[in-house]
Symmetry: C2
Subunit: 143 residues, 2 copies
């Protein structure tokens, strides 16, 4: 586990997206808490649980050679003394490909000792304009 | 806004899924905080924001006449003094249809005055076994 300290949840979030853009696995490791209860849901994926499973997947993703540009918009912050929840839209461009693809993410940070670390990242694709005639979700039967 | 009080985040979560199963809109209203910053992402849907938008969508969903059975499994709780995050798998059966459909949800509750209310519900479909040859997410390019 890295001894890097993030004084605020916002610092941890900035480091998370910076690590993602730079494909920097050690920097990604530094962002996450070391705990059996850290959770990560990639867009369209299952829930991964625990540092080993979560970071193992990040290692594969960051090592795939693809470079991403991630622009964060629509941030909403719900801040408590020990836990902070950030909801953001990730606008992701894959290098050499076309328009940015929007992903909605709920990021949870926890204050652990001197600093803040990520404990939950839950991401899901945002429906594209052509597929959203109304604001109703496509799978309303699943609420 | 309802004056119903949920002494714990778990009480608010139980009331949320009970309201969903029973199609009870007033009970659903009672679960949510009244705030411009409440957020809801339905499976495959966009992020809804604010009490009016979030509850307006729940009114449509709960009023569609379909009855759901929701069995909660795989709960992980990250609890703080003011904010609690519950990650759960919702196993949803639509009345008269087949097997349960799994949905992964990140639910955030906030302590407001005397009790706890829901402030974030972020749900996304879990890939079905036939579609998951490996644990890798299907859209790895989107992290």
């Amino acid at each position: 586990m890295s001894d890097k300290i993030f004084p605020t949840a916002q610092d941890a979030e900035a480091a998370f997206y910076d690590a993602l853009e730079r494909g920097d696995y050690p920097a990604m490791v530094a962002v996450w808490a070391e705990d059996e209860e850290v959770l990560c849901v990639h867009p369209g994926g299952p829930r991964l649980r625990g540092t080993e499973e979560v970071l193992g997947q990040w290692k594969r993703i960051l090592g795939n050679g693809q470079r991403l540009k991630v622009r964060i918009t629509h941030q909403v912050v719900i801040a408590g003394p020990m836990i902070a929840v950030h909801s953001v839209q990730e606008n992701i461009t894959v290098e050499g490909q076309g328009a940015a693809q929007p992903v909605m993410a709920t990021n949870v940070y926890q204050r652990l000792g001197a600093g803040w670390r990520m404990v939950v990242h839950h991401a899901s694709p945002v429906p594209q304009p052509a597929r959203t005639e109304s604001r109703a979700p496509r799978s309303a039967t699943l609420h």
